[in-house]
Symmetry: C2
Subunit: 225 residues, 2 copies
């Protein structure tokens, strides 16, 4: 019987790929608005190269962008870009079906948890901004567990919540980070077909696939039997 439901955050609880793309676009638009002499698409291409090289948690993307573009007095453009980027990231909203379903799952007696890859403060910032942090019985972030989303990561969570694998189901959008390692740790897993990975990771070892959260309560119930 399933008593514990674990949730990924990005592209599971909110459209993170969309917001990230919008944040980058708003950043280069802000640079142009304060006088940067280049096209939007050209700046976006350069920025994407930097993100590919340095990863998305790199703090000085825009410093490096302006350095590569040989900009004198870059402070104005960095300020415009970083400000617009953070303002967009600060405006994240959950998928519309998320708050109601989380509340419903709590109310029928499930324990619900977050199981997330990333930096703890950043992931908490998302949960608070999404207005869902208070629903969860626990939040587990890889930084604090000292382990990325491997079977080990999920086994550590099982120990912390004092549960067996078959009493848990992991909900996430990524086959590699959410579905496969949770299954290896003995959990059930439901794949959410949202965000960019719904297009690139087409085959799935998940026990079920759902497109939106309204299907979640009956799907968990079915796996529980």
């Amino acid at each position: 019987m399933i008593n514990n439901i674990l949730f990924d955050i990005d592209d599971t609880l909110f459209p993170s790929s969309e917001f990230a793309a919008l944040a980058r676009r708003n950043a280069v638009r802000a640079m142009i608005r304060v006088g940067f002499d280049a096209g939007e698409e050209e700046l976006l291409r350069e920025l994407h190269k930097i993100i590919e090289e340095k990863g998305s948690n790199y703090d000085i993307h825009f410093d490096l962008l302006l350095k590569r573009l040989d900009t004198r007095n870059p402070a104005k453009f960095i300020a415009a870009a970083v400000g617009a980027y953070h303002d967009t990231k600060a405006s994240i909203q959950p998928f519309p079906d998320v708050p109601t379903v989380l509340l419903e799952l709590r109310e029928v007696g499930y324990k619900i948890y977050v199981a997330s890859n990333g930096i703890a403060v950043k992931q908490w910032d998302k949960l608070i901004r999404l207005g869902v942090s208070q629903y969860f019985d626990g939040v587990f972030v890889s930084e604090e567990l000292k382990s990325g989303k491997s079977p080990e990561f999920y086994k550590k969570i099982l120990k912390k919540i004092k549960a067996k694998g078959n009493g848990c189901v992991m909900i996430g959008d990524r086959e590699d980070a959410d579905i496969l390692p949770a299954k290896k740790a003995g959990m059930h897993a439901i794949r959410v077909l949202r965000g960019k990975y719904s297009k690139t990771q087409r085959t799935s070892r998940a026990d079920a696939k759902i497109k939106d959260f309204r299907k979640l309560p009956p799907t968990v119930l079915k796996l529980s039997r």
Copy 2:
């Protein structure tokens, strides 16, 4: 004859003391809202101690606050505090008389500049958020000039804008940073009686004192004669 008007930013163009106080208060309120078990005033007192020790440009105020309060799993509270703090700082607005007067001064032919102590990206962020960055013919920040607000700082600006001291007037709220060193560099100076320094620095060597910006154009004209 005065052709160039230099402006301080904090507590001259916008009520920075008020916004800083509000940002700190909103930060501790956000901590309490996500479950921190302490009173608002108690948390504010601890935070103020840290700001006094470390200065206001210290990036990890809240990490240190939670460390001193012996908080286990501080990520949630740091995220709440830092998020609310930055959201408040992102919502700064100019004093109501500022945009119109800046525009008027430009239109009658003055060159207008910013002369500010601080980190260039942070000061640009303020100008952009205040919606006034496009009015200025130049922005000079101590970090880039490699000199705090000393006579040297103002002399460097004179060189950059190719002006003589008596062709310039510095507008600011601080006797020590704005009025005295600008006067020593040969400039005129007008003290704006706004923010916390209007209460603590009561005597002034300024050529004139004003309470709001509507008095600025006639006051500059008078000094110019």
